[in-house]
């Protein structure tokens, strides 16, 4: 029951928000609506923490399993469960949603009711993605995520929001809908072997497919997930979506949604099609490495902070994909860890950029400069988040990148060596931006009297910064919990191939 509660609590909260908001767009109810939404998301976060607390780290399989037949005709069931891999993504979702609600506090006044509604619906859908272990159910959540995000970008975004929203939804749909075909095909392929088609992930593992089928199914799955990640060269929707999305949208998009792609690779694409995986893994890894370098280089020359962070995500997620492709314990654990890190640090970066653009209504780096003198506290937080993002040891980012590199080095030393140069480039682009924004003299008079962090913004920054450091100092807490499950997945892949 716990998982169902966690998944549907935000949805119930969303309906509650609609009730609390009354009919129409009523600004006087804004406070109530925000409070309700934030309260619900906090309760959901508490629930995810409770889940973590009750989680048995020694158990490699799924826990808190709920399995009810749903459409028994097709072998579809309402099958939820978490293991060490999804647990933290669930917690991350719970963690970031209140933050993103909070960070839109000042900037979003246009129909807050609807905004909060979509945010909570989005949370539900994302949580659903991470806890579904039935492919059909997974796909439903997977696709359902698109709609609220589409609205968040399209309604509350910036100038080219419609273009970005439409591009976002269509691009990701193209990939995922091919996956749908593959899911169906897989289910029937399983059906022809075992006599009963099923969408249950655990039963589908190890389905003996012909090579042709396995290859194409894998590609369909992989493309869907890689678009979501997004891996070079499927990434171009991301900068647009990020730049145009409201801060909260960017935070969720970068923080959680991109992880849906990498999560999908690890949970579905790789273990379901191990032969195809071992055949294609080098190519995917190659793309990941190209993406690491490419994303960093392109990020370096962006004039727009959000775009810069967006391209940096391309680079960071390249590491994650590389780690996943290595299929070594360190690589995979590092990748999962890096997903969490990226959620915290890039989420934090987007929050900070959002704070700046709340104040100045621009995201162009050139408009800023010398902020450190004006807003020392904000800049201090900015610094920490930046450091976390460029993987300075002691911060969370390092653990992830190090483990990934370590794992993939054992697999493909040369490729990894190239990838490791991303470490240099990330310092270049992040510090360059940081310097242009915060150092030097205040050149633009408009920046002269900007207020420093407000209490609300402290409430945003403290958890982010605390997590960035905590996860850098005590990674074993997380790694230990995910290890049995990761071992299991690796065994699943290795059990058949390699």
């Amino acid at each position: 029951m716990l998982l169902s509660v966690i998944v549907f609590l935000p949805l119930a909260g969303a309906l509650l928000v609609l009730l609390a908001g009354g009919r129409g767009d009523r600004p006087e109810r804004e406070g109530t609506v925000r409070a309700v939404a934030l309260g619900v998301s906090l309760v959901a976060f508490a629930a995810t923490l409770f889940l973590w607390w009750r989680f048995n780290p020694a158990e490699p399989g799924f826990q808190f399993v709920e399995n009810h037949p749903w459409m028994p005709q097709f072998g579809i069931s309402y099958h939820l469960g978490v293991d060490g891999i999804s647990l933290f993504l669930v917690v991350l979702t719970g963690f970031l949603t209140p933050l993103s609600l909070l960070c839109s506090w000042e900037s979003t006044h246009n129909n807050v009711k609807l905004f909060s509604f979509f945010m909570l619906v989005l949370e539900s859908a994302m949580l659903g993605v991470f806890v579904s272990i039935d492919l059909f159910l997974f796909y439903i959540f997977w696709d359902a995520v698109l709609i609220p995000m589409y609205f968040l970008i399209g309604i509350w975004g910036y100038e080219r929001r419609i273009y970005a929203a439409v591009k976002f939804i269509l691009y990701t749909m193209v990939g995922s809908i091919l996956m749908l075909v593959a899911i169906i095909g897989l289910s029937y392929a399983h059906g022809t072997i075992s006599g009963q088609p099923t969408f249950d992930l655990q039963q589908l593992y190890g389905t003996a497919l012909t090579w042709q089928m396995e290859k194409w199914f894998f590609l369909a799955f992989a493309v869907a997930f890689l678009i979501k990640v997004p891996l070079f060269p499927f990434h171009t929707w991301l900068p647009d979506a990020h730049v145009e999305a409201p801060t909260a949208g960017s935070v969720i998009l970068a923080g959680v949604m991109l992880k849906m792609g990498t999560y999908g690779l690890l949970r579905f694409a790789y273990p379901l099609f191990p032969h195809a995986f071992s055949y294609f893994a080098p190519y995917i890894a190659l793309l990941a490495v190209v993406g690491i370098i490419y994303g960093a280089l392109v990020a370096m020359v962006q004039p727009d902070m959000k775009k810069l962070v967006a391209y940096s995500s391309v680079s960071h997620l390249g590491f994650v994909v590389l780690g996943l492709c290595s299929n070594t314990i360190q690589g995979v654990e590092g990748a999962i860890y890096q997903m969490l890190n990226h959620g915290v640090s890039t989420g934090g970066l987007f929050i900070i950029v959002g704070m700046l653009s709340d104040r100045r209504h621009t995201r162009l780096i050139a408009e800023y400069g010398g902020l450190k003198a004006v807003m020392p506290r904000l800049v201090a937080c900015f610094m920490i988040v930046t450091l976390s993002s460029i993987a300075v040891p002691g911060f969370n980012g390092f653990i992830g990148e190090f483990l990934i590199l370590l794992g993939s080095f054992r697999w493909m030393p040369w490729m990894t060596s190239v990838a490791a140069s991303g470490v240099i480039l990330s310092a270049v682009y992040m510090l360059w931006m940081f310097q242009r924004v915060n150092y030097g003299d205040v050149t633009n008079e408009k920046n002269r009297a900007l207020p420093d962090l407000s209490t609300r913004e402290w409430a945003l920054m403290i958890p982010t910064v605390a997590m960035a450091i905590f996860m850098g100092v005590f990674p074993a807490i997380f790694l230990r919990t995910m290890e049995p499950s990761v071992m299991k997945v690796i065994d699943l892949i290795n059990g058949v191939a390699r």
Partner: protein, 707 residues
């Protein structure tokens, strides 16, 4: 207890970072000094514990599991052996002094900035101690990057000044290039040994034969060495260090002279067993070291910024240390590291006192005759200069001579000769600095000194280092104000620095005189105690029983292996036959040092015109040296700009926006266009519709009939 050593400065950092803004200077500065002194005390106690138990090779403390993933188990573990013992004493000792010095030097800053400064400084000390104490590569790497970070923060401390911010970033990025190598080195080692513990690696590598051709150990050590070149400012990654002089002078003393930049040397010392297995790498290390030493020495000869001269001198001395490492004289290298920490810190702090007195002036062409006005500064500075020049019996002589001797004894004659030349250069440029700064007449045009220090900038600097020169103009709030506070900083009002600073200078001067005494070589009857002290650290040991919980990875551990004994054999020259040679060389190098001083005295004390005419006569060379061989420009033209241009034009505008996104949008466009043209078929004419219908019928029937 080991944990407290870095933790105390870290606590100082946390307190100053969080509360510093609201604390008065006395408290924030006092706190910072206090934690450093406490750390020093604990270090001393720890070292005493270690030394008093000769039977145990090291003290070890494991705190918790940091990274744990499959066969990768990285505990947070500190290990105090003799090498790190020396290092923590240097770090906490010199660090404490510089903290004390800074309380006065930075006094003109606002409370918030003051606290920020000390918080960074404390953080630096903490990371440096982690670097030194860490028992595994990753833990060391935490400190390694951490000190880089602090260096970044401190170089850019006066962030409003663009050049400072740039220099900080440059330092970080260049260090990152090194770190890239370091990481790859770690990965390679782990992939072979599945451990990253220094001792375990050493034990493992001892089971392998010495690698005489390009094997993976060579590759790994070269990669690690790349990291060292970044951190320790060696060719090709040295360019950040001179720029780093944008930071406050005490920072230069602590980070960019005494401690952080020596981390590369330390790291090689730490992995002596590993490096000992690859003659190729050792040759590279030595070669790079000596080349750097020479190059930096030549550049130092013509620089006009007092701190830059010292910076190049640092680079040069670091080159010596790497030379020592490269020829297998690990103890000698570390010895030089240790003595260098004293006299280079002294020199930097002395230059800080000068700058302080001159209200931010850093150009030695505008100095002169400060001997009388700043006597303590002068004398301490002079001691430092003598020490670095290598005049016996000051500290520098023993360490540098040891290196040169080992180079010679190891058969590296060319390197030895270059080393001598460099030694000569060192003496020359150091005394050029001394003479230009303290002797002669004050060239600073006193009446012209403006009332507003902001406008003090000597516009015609020639070197093009407006950045350095503009120090006084931009961060007027610090040095400029201080100058006005001290009495407008010119003429008769010049005087020595406040007591906190002079005290530190004096202590360091004493150190520079005496520090070498621990390393008096055998020929001089000293017994080279430092070498005996350090040697155990350069060998592989059985893993000592863990003091706290230990990772239960079973590893193959070899004891002190034949290989390391063989290595020891090369280090221990059979004393008797070589005694004479060593004497000779000692005299030679002392003589060269003295010669350098004399030359310097001739050109810059006696006959400055001669110096100028030589400069004119060899104008191309002079310009080349003045512009530091154009390396920065070269890097800029070959690496930085191409990357920027390619990223902007090819990757972003071309590939990303044009090709990839163009394809994506092109699909959308194609759909729209085909929609636009297909809908023309829907012409509205009923005949067309009927035609379509009939067409369908014909196709269907035709398919059936003609199939």
């Amino acid at each position: 207890m080991l944990l407290l050593i870095p933790l105390l400065p870290f606590a100082g950092f946390v307190i100053n970072a969080l509360l510093g803004r609201r604390l008065p200077k006395s408290i924030s500065g006092g706190l910072a000094c206090l934690v450093m002194l406490a750390s020093l005390a604990i270090s001393a106690a720890s070292v005493w514990t270690l030394v008093s138990h000769p039977d145990i090779p090291w003290l070890e403390a494991t705190y918790y599991r940091w990274m744990s993933s499959g066969d990768l188990q990285i505990p947070v573990q500190f290990r105090l052996d003799h090498l790190s013992a020396l290092m923590i004493l240097v770090v906490t000792g010199i660090g404490s002094l510089i903290h004390i010095y800074s309380t006065a030097y930075m006094h003109e800053e606002t409370d918030g900035e003051y606290a920020r400064y000390f918080s960074y400084l404390n953080l630096f000390a903490a990371f440096m101690l982690v670097l030194v104490l860490g028992s595994t590569f990753p833990v060391m790497f935490v400190g390694w990057e951490g000190v880089g970070l602090c260096s970044y923060l401190l170089i850019g401390f006066w962030y409003k000044k663009r050049s400072a911010a740039d220099a900080g970033k440059k330092a970080f990025v260049v260090n990152r290039i090194g770190d890239f190598g370091f990481i790859l080195g770690m990965l390679l080692i782990f992939s072979k040994f599945t451990t990253l513990d220094f001792q375990a690696v050493a034990a493992n590598v001892n089971t392998l034969p010495v690698e005489h051709s390009m094997g993976w150990v060579t590759v790994a050590t070269l990669l690690l060495f790349l990291g060292a070149t970044g951190k320790s400012a060696q060719i090709p990654l040295y360019t950040w260090l001179p720029d780093a002089m944008e930071g406050p002078t005490p920072v230069s003393a602590l980070i960019h002279a005494a401690t952080m930049v020596t981390a590369g040397v330390y790291m090689i010392g730490r992995n002596a067993v590993l490096f000992q297995h690859t003659p190729i790498t050792l040759a590279v290390v030595a070669g790079i070291g000596i080349a750097t030493a020479l190059m930096a020495g030549t550049i130092g000869l013509v620089q006009n910024d007092i701190k830059r001269v010292l910076a190049y001198s640092t680079v040069s001395q670091l080159g010596y240390m790497f030379l020592a490492m490269g020829v297998g004289a690990y103890a000698a290298g570390i010895f030089h590291l240790y003595t260098h920490a004293f006299f280079k810190a002294l020199l930097f702090l002395g230059s800080g006192a000068v700058i302080h007195a001159l209200a931010g002036e850093q150009d030695i062409r505008n100095m002169g005759g400060l001997k009388k006005a700043l006597p303590i500064t002068y004398w301490t500075f002079l001691i430092g200069a003598i020490a670095i020049a290598g005049v016996p019996p000051l500290a520098g002589f023993f360490s540098k001579d040891e290196i040169l001797w080992r180079t010679f004894a190891g058969g590296h004659r060319i390197m030895w000769i270059i080393g001598l030349v460099t030694s000569f250069l060192t003496a020359t440029y150091m005394f050029r600095l001394v003479f230009l700064t303290f002797h002669g007449e004050r060239r600073h045009d006193a009446p012209a000194a403006p009332a507003h220090p902001e406008e003090e900038e000597p516009a015609a600097h020639g070197v093009g280092h407006a950045a350095a020169a503009s120090a006084s103009s931009v961060h007027s709030s610090d040095i400029g104000h201080r100058a006005s506070g001290i009495g407008h900083g010119h003429g008769a009002h010049l005087h020595d620095a406040p007591p906190a600073m002079t005290l530190v200078l004096i202590v360091l001067a004493i150190g520079s005189v005496l520090a070498g005494l621990v390393g008096i070589p055998h020929v001089l009857g000293g017994g080279n105690r430092i070498e005996r002290f350090l040697d155990p650290a350069f060998e592989a040991h059985e893993m000592a029983p863990a003091t706290e919980f230990q990772v239960s990875e079973s590893r193959v551990r070899a004891g002190a292996s034949p290989a390391s004994e063989a290595a020891a054999a090369t280090r221990e020259p059979t004393a008797e036959e070589q005694g004479d040679a060593e004497w000779m060389l000692m005299l030679l190098s002392s003589g060269i040092a003295v010669a350098g001083i004399v030359i310097a005295a001739y050109f810059w004390l006696r006959n400055r015109k001669a110096a100028a005419s030589i400069a004119r006569g060899a104008a191309p060379v002079y310009t080349l040296l003045l512009n530091k061989y154009y390396v920065d420009e070269l890097y800029n033209a070959l690496v930085v700009q191409p990357i920027k241009q390619i990223s902007t034009l090819v990757l972003w505008k071309g590939a990303d926006a044009g090709l990839i996104d163009g394809t994506v949008n092109g699909v959308g466009f194609a759909v729209r266009e085909s929609s636009g043209s297909l809908r023309r078929l829907q012409s509205g004419s009923i005949r067309a519709y009927a035609a379509s219908l009939f067409f369908g019928v014909i196709l269907i029937l035709g398919w059936y009939l003609l199939r």
